[in-house]
Symmetry: C2
Subunit: 413 residues, 2 copies
């Protein structure tokens, strides 16, 4: 039977919405990958009765509980005390952890205080998970076949402790069935149109194969899942279904398994031994930021200009100032000149340019908020297109960026 897991995030900052919880999704993806069924994420306050409520609720429902948060040195963090009491454990000073904490402070060049000393107190019934990414260690409790793990809430510490200890300990402790997911990445098609187009195919999926529609902003993912002890065989079964799916929606498929549109686009440029530059107005650096989040992009990304002022468009990208005056910055001719200018300024083979009204200000009757021109250019093409997005600034920036990468992807295909 599949082992079940629950992820409990502790902290008032989550409950009052000051912090977005990214730990749950990261841990959930990792636990799913090694074969757990993550049945719930729960956020609770840093109060004794709430942490106890989480334990009472999920100990009968799961085999593994991971707590994040509430292990810092300050007074509002009580997870350690509550877990120790729940499992009838005493807090004892752990010399190894104390040394780790001392070493870390020495490394930072910071003087330790008595609060930091307390971070080396650990429940005597827990296995200690030493951290290479912060001062607080993790804890691993075994209790009648249940595992309860507690780690600090800082994302880097969560990832570090999971990668260094928890993944392998969980695999060894539980005998986990293999799980296989394959995700088809789509763009330019809505959920209901897609559902209708593939309804026949969906109805014919084999027994036990799951399908989920995962809509995002400007993208949509179709996730096929199959639980099986034979990974290769399960993948083959899934691929067989995907082969039948492709002819139905080929023009919308840009990749698989959570690869990003910008990475697919970059790979196509790298395959051609080409380089890319970007000239951004309304996307304001987002194209460059998405590209440079990809490790190794420096082999094909030359750089970009955020030409927010018209002066920057003419000075750096060589846009004709008369064209700006006659047609406005948000126009076909200007965005095409921006793309061509970026190729020259950065000495690249390919370029993407954006110019639009992201909002909330800047709209006119002719060019309302959400109007965006995008151009893509290469050695043998210059393509431009107008889009009409919505009223939300960040939404428009995101949609424009995805549309821009997709135009380049399609042009390169």
């Amino acid at each position: 039977m599949k082992k079940r897991a629950a992820i409990i995030t502790i902290g008032d900052e989550l409950l009052i919405g000051q912090v977005v919880d990214t730990n749950s999704s990261w841990l959930a993806a990792e636990l799913t990958r090694i074969g757990f069924t993550v049945v719930n994420h729960l956020s609770v306050s840093d109060k004794r009765d709430e942490i106890t409520f989480a334990l009472d609720t999920f100990l009968p429902k799961t085999e593994l509980i991971i707590f994040t948060g509430g292990l810092g040195p300050t007074n509002d963090d009580i997870t350690k005390k509550v877990l120790a009491d729940y499992f009838n454990s005493e807090l004892v000073m752990n010399e190894q952890v104390l040394n780790d904490v001392k070493e870390r402070f020495k490394q930072y060049g910071i003087t330790m205080n008595s609060l930091n000393n307390e971070q080396a107190l650990v429940p005597d019934k827990a296995k200690v998970l030493r951290s290479n990414h912060g001062t607080a260690p993790g804890m691993w409790f075994e209790n009648n076949g249940n595992i309860v793990v507690s780690v600090p809430g800082v994302p880097a510490e969560v990832k570090g402790l999971f990668n260094d200890h928890i993944r392998e300990m969980a695999i060894n402790y539980f005998l986990l069935p293999k799980v296989v997911y394959k995700t088809v990445m789509l763009t330019g098609i809505g959920e209901s149109i897609l559902a209708e187009r593939i309804s026949q195919w969906e109805a014919n999926l084999p027994e036990g194969m799951s399908l989920a529609y995962l809509p995002g902003m400007g993208t949509l993912r179709l996730r096929l899942g199959l639980t099986s002890d034979n990974k290769e065989q399960a993948l083959q079964s899934i691929h067989k279904q995907i082969d039948a799916l492709i002819p139905l929606i080929e023009e919308h498929i840009y990749g698989y398994d959570n690869i990003s549109l910008e990475e697919v686009t970059g790979n196509l440029i790298a395959e051609r031994n080409g380089t890319l530059a970007v000239a951004e107005s309304c996307t304001g650096g987002t194209l460059a930021q998405m590209i440079t989040a990809i490790p190794g992009c420096s082999s094909w990304f030359k750089g970009g200009t955020v030409a927010y002022s018209n002066q920057a468009k003419t000075n750096i990208l060589g846009v004709d100032s008369e064209a700006v005056e006659q047609h406005g910055a948000v126009s076909q001719i200007v965005v095409e000149q921006m793309a061509v200018g970026a190729i020259k300024a950065f000495n690249s083979e390919y370029a993407i340019a954006t110019s639009g009204v992201a909002g909330p200000g800047g709209g006119t009757p002719n060019k309302p908020v959400g109007t965006v021109w995008i151009a893509v250019a290469g050695p043998d093409f210059l393509i431009s297109k107008q889009f009409k997005f919505g009223n939300d600034r960040l939404h428009n920036i995101r949609r424009s960026s995805l549309a821009a990468f997709n135009m380049m992807r399609v042009a390169l295909k």
Copy 2:
């Protein structure tokens, strides 16, 4: 007594970690602002027994439950049916909603299909919340003094339905006490050092005033809270405490109430009638992207260059190619020339420049991954500084960006 709320997000995509849940934090902040105590966030699978589990768990524990997700037109979305059954309600066709759905499809220029028709089926015991942001309506159930609300999972639809209906309906239905929070935004100080520095002040906080430490990446927030029916009076009590806090940590306070460091920096530049340009290497567009996320930034932001290649550094920013050769791109002289070059290229008064090794590649014994040079320049200053961050690429980009804005903020003070 304070009314309690729970936020339940539905969807396997959350549980397997393919999507980060941003709805919970947004709703939690809004509910907190109008006086709810949000006791839990819970994510559950789109299965009947899981949605029922959520209702069974939180109906006794809260007065308000908000469900997000599981209202799309596709087959894996069953929230509506489960809620109708749970509250002994029948699904009936709502002509007004049907018209709304038809109008929306007409507006999009898309043909409706039978799945979309089903979106107009609503439980007869629910109040229908018409959506201006998508095809699926929200639902409002009243049940023995409990309110259960269900909205679709797309963030724009969640926000739209909350803003258009739920906030006001909740305020009218419940009699909510006023709640006051004030958050002090800090940078350049760690949690434990801070705790020690303000321990005396913390111990003397008046009865009933709460304090929370909210560490982030490169920033730290101190949140003071007070429940009171008199908002002005509560704010006065909190401000009195903050007045006592300021002398203890003044150099680290950059603002209040979740204002971002980039916005504070931009405001300082705008106050001086100045303009800003950025020259980015390792931050790769993140400075520009953070700035252009601020509505109205075009009045003080001229633009930026992502000079990822050395060629771009020399061609566009006028960096001396000999300096690059002798000292490397990650050096004091190059980052200073980038800042000065950005002022010239964009005709601005102020500039920020970054050059560093974000990783994972590119490190050397002298300049390991995490080494970053930052320069800030203005009419009468040019300041540069070396930082040593860690091994994680995205972490380094984020830390560099915050450090860069903070250097400019301090220079302008």
